[in-house]
């Protein structure tokens, strides 16, 4: 890794500046929330800050008066991970299917679009009524999981289509000519190239599920997920514990991501297990740079 950037030109600097401003714009509200979470017990929801303490974090971790956000958070986190994994697998498979083409692909495509643009309550209400009519109790890990998938899968599948849309078939043909089996082709040719896309899909899957309220609201059964609980809390209270929850969950998710990155990095170093994946892209990109100079 020589440098983070390409040779800097004025347009590049402008783009960089726009990106920087965008990131500041994205983080503005988050920073407000982060600061306000550190208020004293008498703190409110707005500046100026009243006192400085870890009181509201303590209230979240060991609640003695407010809502207990711990189990809802755990449910949301687990659900997010499950949605992430399923979304990656199903989207990848669907992407391959679309690459080959199949009868009815048009119908399925509009099914995907329909699922994406269906008003969220409609999905939630429909699934909820379906369960109720079957005399079943929907819960976050059954009806809730399904509702989240109807939201995360279209994103995953469409991003997969975007990736395969510009996928040069000659690479695959070359691999076949060199005698690669279809599995080898998948593992060593296609997979590494789509890996960045799969990471993006996974992140989307987790993020979309983790903060999903409307689709969950009628299918969570007798155990709420975190967003449902947070919305209830705003309906019934106005205390900085909400900010503390937001801050804590963000920090936690961030730690998990950093940890995951670290593990991948170490594995890569040790066994080169992901070298086919991340390595090739890195090389590819570094090649651009070299040729650009």
């Amino acid at each position: 890794m020589i440098s983070f950037w390409q040779n800097s030109t004025t347009p590049m600097k402008i783009r960089g500046a726009i990106f920087l401003l965008f990131v500041i714009f994205l983080y503005g509200p988050l920073i407000t929330i982060g600061f306000l979470a550190f208020q004293g017990p008498e703190g409110g929801l707005t500046f100026p800050m009243k006192g400085f303490s870890l009181y509201w974090f303590k209230q979240v971790i060991l609640p003695d008066y407010l809502f207990d956000f711990r189990l809802p958070w755990l449910r949301s986190f687990i659900l997010g991970i499950i949605v992430m994994i399923i979304t990656i697998i199903i989207s990848f498979m669907a992407g391959l299917a679309y690459r080959r083409g199949f009868k009815g692909s048009n119908l399925v495509f509009y099914g995907v679009i329909g699922s994406l643009i269906a008003p969220p309550f409609l999905i939630s209400l429909g699934i909820g009524l379906g369960f109720a009519n079957l005399e079943l109790l929907s819960s976050w890990y059954s009806g809730g999981l399904g509702a989240h998938l109807t939201w995360s899968l279209p994103f995953g599948v469409l991003i997969m289509l975007a990736i395969f849309a510009r996928f040069d078939p000659s690479i695959e043909e070359a691999a076949t000519d060199l005698g690669a089996t279809s599995w080898q082709r998948l593992r060593f040719v296609i997979f590494p190239i789509v890996l960045p896309g799969l990471i993006a899909i996974g992140l989307f899957g987790f993020t979309l599920s983790y903060d999903e309220f409307a689709r969950t609201s009628l299918v969570a059964g007798d155990a709420n997920t975190l967003p449902v609980d947070m919305v209830s809390a705003t309906a019934n209270a106005a205390r900085p514990d909400l900010y503390a929850v937001g801050t804590l969950t963000t920090i936690f998710s961030l730690l998990i991501i950093v940890l995951a990155f670290g593990v991948v990095y170490i594995l890569e170093r040790k066994r080169g297990i992901f070298s086919a994946a991340t390595g090739s892209s890195t090389d590819e990109n570094e090649n651009y740079t070299k040729s650009m100079h």
Binding site: L45, L96, P119, L125, V157, E286
Partner: protein
């Protein structure tokens, strides 16, 4: 003997042929199953509810088109549709430009794969804080005594707090850009990353200007990403009912808002009928989009 071997060989090749022939079906099946159970069936149930009888308080099984007729006989439905369309177009233009620049920066200006992923992650992290809390946190920023207004008054640009910063369409669009730009970035980022750098190099060698490269190589080749991003944005804007309520101070209408008002009051057939109409309109829109650029044909 030899005939037998031949037979065997042809049989194995037949099996592998069959497998090859149907593997796409196998690969598509999990998607189809999930969508069928959790999207098609619920939509069918909603279709059924949309023709149920609603007596003003209570929903009863039956068959009537009253909820649909109600929708089409109200002037405000058209107004809501117009609001949704207008907010979408403004949001779409801004997120497209912003998303394009950001993706371009991530793909072409940054070097290492890990740095790209890191920067991409940087834009995802804010989404892990509850949306409702994030939306509410705009109030101390955009409000009449908010940070932005205090700043503008302090440097003397305005004398009075600017009221339309908050509880207006402006605030709604700001929050949409805040929340939805990422959904434009993701497909664009992935499409742009697939553009063969040799192509750009070749163009450069031929003496193409930066603008020409953008105009004739990058934009045409990013089209599927733009289309998919557009589908994301229209879906997100048209179905949002939370941000529009909180940031317009519940003073702005949209189709999704109208659905949610009906829904929260327990008017299920009305909410269902309006949802079905919204869904049909959006499908028509995407269908039209596919006529312009069919992302599936570009594969």
């Amino acid at each position: 003997m030899s005939i037998q071997t031949q037979n065997q060989e042809s049989e194995t090749s037949k099996i592998s042929e069959i497998f090859k022939k149907y593997s796409a079906y196998f690969q598509a099946s999990p998607l189809v199953i999930v969508l069928f159970i959790f999207a098609v069936v619920p939509v069918a149930i909603i279709l059924m509810y949309s023709v149920f009888i609603f007596d003003g308080f209570v929903t009863r099984p039956g068959f009537t088109f009253t909820s649909y007729i109600d929708f089409f006989s109200e002037w405000s439905s058209l107004l809501n549709l117009w609001h949704t369309a207008r907010i979408f177009i403004i949001t779409w233009v801004i997120t497209l430009v912003l998303g394009f620049i950001i993706s371009y920066f991530l793909v072409f200006d940054l070097i290492s794969f890990r740095v790209k992923v890191f920067f991409f992650l940087l834009t995802v992290v804010p989404f892990w804080t509850s949306g409702v809390v994030r939306m509410t946190s705009w109030i101390p920023f955009l409000g009449s005594k908010g940070i932005l207004n205090s700043f503008l008054i302090n440097i003397g640009i305005v004398d009075e707090p600017v009221q339309f910063f908050l509880f207006s369409e402006f605030a709604v669009i700001v929050s949409y850009i805040h929340m939805f730009t990422l959904f434009m970035v993701a497909p664009l980022f992935n499409v742009m990353a697939r553009i063969n750098p040799n192509l750009i190099e070749a163009a450069k060698d031929q003496g193409a200007s930066g603008f020409q490269i953008l105009r004739f190589i990058i934009i045409p080749m990013s089209k599927p990403g733009i289309i998919i991003g557009t589908i994301f944005i229209v879906a997100l804007v048209a179905t949002d009912f939370t941000a529009i309520r909180i940031l317009s101070g519940a003073q702005s209408g949209s189709l999704a808002n109208s659905v949610s008002v009906a829904f929260f009051n327990g008017f299920y057939p009305i909410a269902a009928a309006q949802s079905v109409i919204l869904l049909a309109l959006l499908l028509l829109f995407v269908g039209g989009l596919m006529r312009v650029v069919d992302i599936r044909k570009q594969m």
